[in-house]
């Protein structure tokens, strides 16, 4: 018997633990038990991913994990390196904080007998996101994309109001269009390469690219796969599903969907760029340029839509569109520096947007369900903790120094220097977008802190201890990422180097 490398088993354990907990939760008798199972599971995954991150960063290694008895081109495989481990740690941390902070919303808005079902979906969603992060097989990626779609739609509709059903239908139709295109891409890629695993596929694609055989299919298929992923991650022209869905869903769901689910597709996209299509093919086919242009358009248009919005949650949803635009702009720069900035922004946006959604949900609840911005006047005075949280989140999104959002903007600006011909566009749009961000975030911040005259003073809203812990945790994370960003960016740089090998 050989020595077992337990660290290498962590990706497999994390995915299976999440899936098994999802199945077991069906037997839980009420929401509280289900919540406990979920929290323990995410906590364990968080610790394990932390260990994995520590190890892979220390050894600067990337490893493949064989799912079963058969090696690469025959069996399924997982792939783990610093990027995957970092994302898994972030995802589990954010998930832990969001669900424990948003537990009250779940308990209030979901019918008691269906709360365990909500947690089934959460666990499955978490497992699917981990699988999308770790996968090294394109068809596995497709199946887990579908799990992700079903579970995220279930999170939106769990509220049970007609409004949320309409939002879910919209979200479902558009997501299914995206996964349909992805599946078509997978089948064409299979027929021209004959493989489904990333490394073998890459070899075949580079070969095809050099000989010039199957040039048209390769070009179209690359386009389809990235259109599919762009639709799934709500890049600008495909963003129409977000506002309705996020507005109608429970704040906890909205936070998870916007902070994590969209990001999991982007991470899959990044892996596809480096591990399947390779930088050479991406650049020659000009896919990066297209993503760059749409990213820029998303940055501006998302903010413009957000400015026009009167409902807070819809405003946050449009702000997500703008932030997704930032990430695609970073990817589209086509350099590793740009990719580093994009990855950092994934982290920054994940911790910031979930914070904003939780605080916004808390304000709406204090107001008895009124969700327009002018209803929010003085909300922070009644609920100072959520007010501070919202303020920190908003300032981070605008890009105030010491906060996570600032660092990612600095990195985007720096990265633009390295990509010739794109520098002017990046800097101008970055500036415009920052001003626009300030124009819609600052009014809402001022609104929640300004007292309302002539109305009797309402008592302080009760805040559950878990909500407090989670908000404080998010604020600390935000400052930590804004001040001690160096180690994180170093890990990201290293991991992109390893991915591209």
């Amino acid at each position: 018997m050989e020595h077992i490398n337990w660290i290498h088993n962590i990706p497999f354990f994390s995915i299976f633990l999440a899936m098994i907990c999802g199945i077991i939760t069906a037997l839980a008798k009420d929401g509280k038990v289900a919540f406990k199972i979920h929290t323990v599971m995410v906590f364990v995954v968080c610790i394990m991913s932390g260990l994995l991150l520590f190890r892979v960063v220390k050894n600067q290694e990337t490893f493949y994990y064989m799912m079963g008895h058969f090696p690469a081109p025959w069996g399924n495989e997982l792939r783990a390196g610093p990027l995957e481990a970092l994302m898994a740690v972030t995802f589990s941390l954010v998930m832990l904080l969001t669900v424990s902070g948003g537990l009250d919303f779940i308990m209030k808005d979901v019918v008691a007998e269906k709360q365990p079902l909500y947690f089934i979906m959460l666990n499955a969603l978490f497992g699917a996101m981990l699988a999308l992060i770790y996968t090294n097989d394109i068809f596995t990626a497709y199946v887990f994309i579908e799990i992700n779609t079903i579970a995220s739609c279930a999170l939106i509709m769990a509220k049970g109001t007609p409004e949320s059903m309409v939002g879910t239908t919209h979200y479902l139709v558009i997501s299914l269009l995206g996964s349909g295109l992805f599946l078509l891409g997978v089948s064409i890629l299979y027929s021209i390469t004959g493989h489904l695993l990333f490394p073998q596929m890459q070899e075949a694609i580079v070969g095809i690219f050099k000989t010039g055989e199957y040039a048209t299919p390769l070009m179209v298929v690359t386009g389809f796969m990235f259109i599919g992923i762009a639709i799934k991650s709500a890049l600008f022209p495909f963003h129409s599903m977000l506002p309705g869905a996020y507005n109608a869903a429970i704040p906890t769901s909205s936070g998870i969907l916007s902070g994590l689910v969209l990001k999991s597709y982007i991470i899959l996209g990044i892996k596809l760029i480096y591990c399947v299509f390779s930088e050479l093919v991406m650049h020659t086919l000009k896919i990066t340029e297209v993503l760059f242009v749409f990213g820029l358009a998303g940055m501006v248009m998302g903010s413009v839509y957000a400015m026009r919005e009167r409902k807070m949650k819809r405003m946050l949803a449009y702000s997500s569109v703008a932030q997704i635009g930032y990430i695609y702009m970073g990817i589209g720069m086509g350099t590793r520096v740009g990719m580093t900035a994009a990855c950092f922004h994934i982290l920054a946006h994940a911790i910031t947007k979930t914070l904003l959604f939780l605080c916004c949900g808390s304000f709406v609840e204090d107001n008895g369900g009124k969700d327009k911005i002018y209803h929010m006047r003085g909300a922070a005075l009644r609920n100072p903790l959520a007010g501070v949280g919202y303020t920190v989140g908003a300032l981070s999104m605008v890009g105030i120094p010491l906060l996570a959002g600032f660092i990612s903007k600095v990195y985007f600006a720096t990265a633009s220097v390295y990509s010739s011909g794109k520098m002017a566009a990046v800097l101008i749009v970055l500036g415009v977008s920052m001003v626009l961000n300030a124009l819609y975030f600052l009014p809402s911040v001022i609104a929640i802190w300004s007292p309302v005259k002539g109305v009797e003073k309402k008592p302080f809203a009760k805040v559950s201890p878990m909500f407090a812990v989670s908000i404080v945790g998010f604020i600390i994370l935000n400052f930590a990422l804004g001040v001690y960003y160096r180690p994180i960016t170093r890990i990201i740089q290293m991991s992109i180097g390893l991915l591209a090998q």
């Binding site: 779609t149 007609p162 239908t169 349909g180």
Partner: protein
């Protein structure tokens, strides 16, 4: 490289995909929209199944004890189609359940009508 003449099945499948897509865009009725999505999925399965076929060979199940790769067709697309079909069934059931719930509340299957009613309900 002109294989349009021989790739009938693939050609048919992409035309079907286009028809499904058109259905999705043009139909206002939600059930018909989801039928459109289903047609799109099915078209991809036809494509995959066609890609697995090799002329003159038999289905990948042991026959007459022949263990030789040149006797059977490619089993990989069959497996992928099998997985895909189950996913499509699940998605269809889910979306139809959603449609049933919407119909119960709004009393119509027309997407535009539902959008209008929900906006009115929101109390703009």
């Amino acid at each position: 490289m002109n294989h349009l003449g021989t790739n009938f099945y693939e050609a048919a499948s992409v035309i079907l995909f286009g028809i499904g897509f058109m259905n999705l865009l043009l139909q206002n009725n939600l059930i018909k929209k989801f039928i459109g999505l289903n047609i799109m999925d099915t078209a991809v399965y036809l494509f995959l199944a066609a890609k697995g076929y090799i002329s003159g060979r038999v289905a990948p199940i042991l026959t007459d004890g022949i263990i030789d790769a040149s006797h059977y067709i490619n089993p990989v697309p069959a497996g992928l189609v099998l997985t895909g079909i189950v996913v499509a069934v699940s998605i269809t059931a889910f979306s139809l359940a959603l449609v049933q719930r919407l119909y119960k509340h709004y009393g119509t299957l027309n997407m535009d009508e539902i959008m209008r009613l929900s906006r009115e309900e929101e109390g703009e």
